[in-house]
Amino acid sequence: MQGAPLVEIQNVLKSYKNAPRPAVNDLSLVIPKQSIFGLLGPNGAGKTTLISMLCGLFSPTNGKIITNGWDTAVDSKKIKQIIGVVPQEIALYPKLTAYENLLFLGHMYGIETDELKQRIKYNLEVLGLFEHKDQLIKTFSGGMKRRINLIAGLLHHPQLLILDEPTVGVDIQSKTAIINYLKKLNSEKGMTIFYTSHHLDEAEDFCSHIAIIDEGKLITEGSTKELIQNNGCNTIEEVYLKITGRKFRD
């Protein structure tokens, strides 16, 4: 049922000790079910902190995050069952083969071995990696690693897939394969996708909803079309620069 909220971020504030300002500051967002929700913002805007809180790793200093009706601060175990995470880093073991990596991570999700093997085979075939399954990850190209990184987050069929810059540093072929597969999962399986990226053209093409945050605060949000129209721009990149400015964020 598209439109109903899967995640509700309610006035969330997150402060770190000795930090000059909160990493996330009174942020409220709703991520609708079956949407592809893009969270954009410059470096240091608070995207990674927000993802950590969505995953239940940190509790907000103030405010609440409700996912599928569960409070992340209380029911983080239940939430971890329904989310899949694809970190920005290649979170794989370089000295294990692609297959060994996926087998290990799948078992950590508690998937039965036979079922897991089928899912690994399917995903490797879809992303064109089956013939490379017995190669060590350290021998893979950047694009191949990214594709395995994605599969690792999908094996347990999560309701909410959280992607932190999933296409950074990959060639156009790998990027296209990843985005097309994610679109397929969203349209066919109804998977909700929460995505961050600095590739604004990719975000414009991929996301149904976009929120832009800066210095921990929400600047704007809405459907991709709405954002472009309401800001009198032609692309999301124009909207982004108009809202966040051209000042460096070093």
């Binding site: 790793l57 971890k80 069952q81 970190p87």
Partner: protein, 421 residues
């Protein structure tokens, strides 16, 4: 359980494909135990007073030198080598380290010894019609040379041993002269025999709790010492493994899985505990089978195998927990490697791995008791050298387990209250 097994299998695969870590954990300690045991063997031999190379220069060629040589050989402490050289050449040979000790017996030493004995005995039986003879008050001097590296305590004990031999020879000479005098005084009496054996004797034994008399030697010290070192050195690969997982995002991914990071940590702890037990078995095998092939003594393990296993398990757990703590606190692999290595080397030095605590000054002996490596080493000594049972070494194991619990607790606290906030 299935998650734990898969985690263990993953850690195993990662470890066996990491050649550097395998080298650190298995090759390095074996190389260390080879090299250090061989280097320290001579030192331990000198401590144990066995086969000390001794140069004997005999310019006397009479009964004193013959009897002294025989007596030196009978002690079996000395490997007596005779050379016909002058005093300066003898001194040179000792100075260059070819021999640890040299004894130079001047010409006519036997004759002078007899004369001196005769003079002393004559004083006991002065003839009424003769003037007192002129007594040569300068003592007969045998020259002893020591290699400058010889420790004072060893020098004193060797001088004492040689002094005792010389005293016995002096006594014998005086008895011989006395016999002659007695015969002059009492021509009709039967021949006098005087027993020169010591009236008071001492017996020595090592106070072990079993029937064997194990002597501390380089193998008995170095095998358990470097086993402890190797076990604690796994903190380098273990902390590196934890930090790598954190840096490459794997830890982040695992933390987002339901309950999985606990299994991942349990897998790591189990694997590295197994590694430490394999290290123990390997090092024991080196002491039992490899070192004897190089002319070194065979490791004597005693028969308390349960106690030995308990020590290895406790030490392994302490080492693994320490690695986990270092991996949790350190912010980079470089920092963990540097901190871990320096800390383990320091604990090893304090704990008596390099230099046994029994040769340390008193203050260092007290300080060494704070090192977990010392607790393990003392427990191994208990079984290897003193033949004690579990009840005598449990306190060392208790300390190791408390140390392990403190490290696990510290790692948990840091992870939950510092890193995750």
């Amino acid at each position: 359980m299935k998650k734990l097994l898969y985690s263990l299998y993953k850690e195993y695969k990662v470890l066996v494909r990491d050649k550097a870590a395998m080298g650190i954990m298995f090759i390095m300690p074996m190389a260390l135990v080879f090299v250090v045991t061989i280097i320290q063997d001579t030192t331990f031999k000198s401590v144990n007073e066995t086969s000390v190379p001794l140069l004997l220069v005999d310019k006397d060629h009479d009964s004193l030198s013959v009897q002294l040589e025989r007596a030196l050989k009978q002690t079996k402490f000395f490997d007596v080598q005779k050379q016909d050289i002058n005093q300066e050449e003898a001194r040179e040979l000792i100075a260059t380290g070819k021999y640890l000790i040299g004894i130079f017996i001047p010409e006519k030493s036997t004759t002078r010894l007899r004369e001196k004995a005769s003079q002393r005995i004559s004083k006991l039986f002065p003839a009424e019609d003769t003037l007192p003879s002129v007594v040569d008050t300068a003592s007969l001097q045998l020259k002893l040379y020591f290699d400058p590296i010889t420790k004072q305590s060893f020098k004193v004990s060797i001088s004492g041993a040689i002094g005792r031999i010389v005293s016995a020879l002096e006594m014998q000479s005086m008895v011989d002269v006395l016999k002659v005098e007695m015969k002059d005084l009492m021509p009709s009496s039967e021949e006098v025999t005087l027993e020169t054996k010591p009236l008071v004797s001492t017996s020595e034994e090592y106070a072990t709790n079993n029937e064997s008399t194990l002597v501390p030697n380089s193998v008995q010290h170095n095998v358990p010492a470097w086993t402890m070192f190797a076990m604690f050195f796994i903190c380098i690969p273990l902390s590196g493994n934890i930090i790598r997982e954190r840096e490459d995002g794997s830890a982040f991914r695992l933390l987002t899985m339901p309950g999985s990071y606990v299994f991942v940590l349990a897998g790591k702890i189990t694997l590295y505990l197994i590694v430490s037990l394999i290290q123990f078995a390997l090092m024991l095998s080196v002491g039992l089978y490899i070192l004897p092939l190089m002319g070194l003594p065979t490791l004597q393990t005693g028969e308390n195998y349960f106690t030995l296993f308990s020590i290895a398990l406790s030490a392994g757990l302490a080492a693994t927990a320490f690695g986990l703590l270092v991996g949790t606190i350190a912010s980079s692999q470089d920092q963990a490697a540097l901190f871990g290595a320096v800390f383990v080397v320091l604990l090893a030095a304090l704990g008596g791995v390099w230099i046994p605590t029994f040769v340390m000054p008193e203050i260092m002996k007290s300080i060494s008791s704070i090192s977990p490596l010392n607790w393990g080493l003392e427990a191994f000594y208990g079984v290897f050298l003193r033949g004690v049972s579990f009840s005598a070494i449990w306190i060392h194991l208790f300390k190791l387990l408390v140390f392990a619990a403190a490290c696990f607790g510290g790692a948990y606290y840091y992870q939950v209250y510092k890193r995750m906030r």
